[in-house]
Amino acid sequence: MNVDPVDMDALSELFNVGLHRAAASLSELTGQRIGVDMPRLWVCKASEIEERMLSLLRGELATVHQIFSGAVAGDAVLLIEPDKAAALARFMTSGEAAIGGRLDQSAREVLVEIGNVVLGACLSSFGDMLHVPVTFSVPRIHVDSLAGVLAALRTETEEVQYAVIAATRFGLSTMEVDGYLIVAVGAKSLARIFSAMSGKA
């Protein structure tokens, strides 16, 4: 899908602001410095998500999925490789979760909380820009293949047609964790986002 480079830059900045908000929240909550890289961004058709994601990561994934609704509606997913997700949960709990490097129940709960913070911060950026409230469902965690994750994407109001994919890296004091976000939306929602960015909203 061809997107105007200016719109792409604006979209990147929107995600960047959201991710920095998320990193700041996580830093405040843990008392540990957490950094985040400027995200790389792709906008593609829903049918192209799998191909694009497969160029970034493979195998089983730990995912936190939230459905959002309002003027902009869709699915938001945070994807992290399971061993990195376990390490992240271990870091956030000072070693209490993810015993033996496993993504145990406590680690999954911690990951849900992290996912909620990250997805909430990013998608609130859309809401702030559009000056409309965006509400979220309760986040759910799945450990599944990419195909399994993508099969679950479907907005409540309109079928997913496009996706914004963001790849970033969280910098913790002990390691770096690659995180990927898929924001899957219908055509109307994507049009509203681009319209708002170009000041037409």
Binding site: L29, T30, Q66, G70, A89, M92, T93, E96, A97, I99, G100, D104, Q105, S106, A107, E109, V110, V112, E113, I114, N116, G120, S124, P133, T135, F136, S137, V138, P139
Partner: protein, 404 residues
């Protein structure tokens, strides 16, 4: 609002209250001012506060020790956000008494979901917190974590013990062997022929003891995951010939024939040559130990695609029953008690050899026919080989043959 819809709302509220009372989780709702407007039966039972007593109050008023993070989470939910508090990260929502007396927890460990209550226009008019008690599970996980930490500490102690024993056991055995040599060579004065015989016996026994110690230490290192594979370029045929030279005196002593067949040209393997030699010596030593007659063979072959090297040691000894064939790879096992008595050893040679072969990405397998003899095949991966084309070739070399 019409009367009908007002009645419907009342019915809906009653239904939600009944459903909330049936749940095994806590459900508390507040309005935009933070005033409690819902308090389910589960919360009544775990907090000791009846709904009638809490409705109209605020949560910080009811729980003065409620944490600032929990209050901030509630405020965010009232403002329209969906908030998650996991017990491990953001900690508990309400300071409720722990349901278990034992354990380190003063308060109930909770996972909480806070959801905004949204009206028909999409405006947030309050929030609901759903609280799940996970204290029992967290307690079990903490016990498991403690057990893992203890096991890791024990493993570290075991590794330190092995490192220490490796030195402490080898050093005195080396001293015994060294001083025996000096005595036998007459460095400390003339020795009689009878004394030489006894000194030779001490030398043999100390060498045997050193072998046993090495076997036990290797087994322990592999079991502890501390045995390392040191990859070097090595020729498969050379390793086989070197191992054969070590067992030559044993062959001669027992009057056994020995044939070795190695490839005509070098088969360069990227593997741990020391370990391959150790396996070969173990297998050839066993073949000699359990054979009283016949021929022992060592064949070195490259498989058809040129990816593996097979070292095949065969003998014409007593053989092993099929049902016992896998047992010989169990530690501290020698199949027949009569053999155990007549053939000394730790019973670790074959388990260690298989462990080492597997450590190098290969395997050790056995075939045997009772009364006819046994064949042990070590399969090891080859990284580069002049046999990449897939030919198997060999030159028949007679390294040692003694009269029987």
């Amino acid at each position: 609002m019409s009367e009908v819809s007002a009645l419907s709302n009342m019915a809906l509220n009653a239904l939600l209250r009944d459903v909330g009372d049936m749940l095994e989780v806590g459900v508390v709702s507040v309005d935009t001012h933070g005033t409690i407007i819902g308090w389910n039966r589960w919360l009544e039972s775990v907090s000791g506060h009846r709904a009638a007593d809490v409705l109209g109050r605020s949560l910080p008023d009811l729980f003065p020790s409620m944490g600032p993070a929990a209050i901030a989470a509630l405020d965010r939910a009232v403002a329209g956000a969906t908030v998650v508090l996991s017990h491990g990260f953001h900690r508990f929502f309400l300071p409720l008494q722990s349901p278990i007396d034992h354990g380190p927890y003063e308060f109930m460990q909770q996972n909480t979901r806070l959801l905004p209550i949204v009206d028909a226009n999409g405006n947030s008019v309050g929030a609901t917190a759903i609280i799940q008690d996970v204290t029992e599970r967290v307690h079990r996980e903490a016990e498991l974590r403690l057990a893992i930490e203890r096991a890791e500490a024990a493993n570290r102690a075991k590794s330190a013990f092995l490192a220490s024993m490796s030195h402490e056991l080898r050093t005195p055995i080396g001293a015994v062997a060294g001083y025996t040599d000096l005595l036998r060579d007459g460095i400390f004065g003339e020795v009689t022929p009878a004394q030489v015989v006894h000194l030779e016996r001490i030398k043999r026994v100390s060498a045997h003891l050193l072998h046993i110690v090495e076997e036990i230490l290797t087994f322990a290192r592999v079991e502890a995951g501390r045995e390392e594979v040191r990859i070097t370029e090595t020729d498969a045929g050379t390793v086989a010939i070197e191992a054969s030279a070590v067992i030559q005196p044993m062959l001669e002593k027992k009057g056994l024939h020995f044939d070795i067949c190695v490839p005509e040209t070098a088969v360069i393997m990227h593997t741990d040559a020391v370990k391959v030699r150790q396996i070969m010596i173990n297998l050839l030593g066993n073949a000699v130990k359990f054979s009283s007659k016949g021929t022992i063979r060592l064949d070195v072959r490259v498989d058809e695609p040129g990816t593996q090297v097979a070292f095949i040691v065969s003998d014409e000894g007593p053989g092993i029953d099929e049902e016992n064939l896998e047992r010989i790879f169990e530690p501290f096992t020698q199949v027949e008690s009569t053999l155990s008595r007549t053939h000394e050893g730790t019973g670790l040679g074959l388990p260690v050899s298989r462990q080492l072969a597997r450590l190098m990405g290969g395997d050790l397998v056995a075939e045997s026919v009772k009364g006819k003899g046994s064949t042990f095949t070590v399969l090891l991966p080859i990284v580069s080989s002049p046999y990449a084309g897939g030919t198997i070739s060999g030159e028949h070399l007679l390294v040692g043959e003694s009269s029987s």
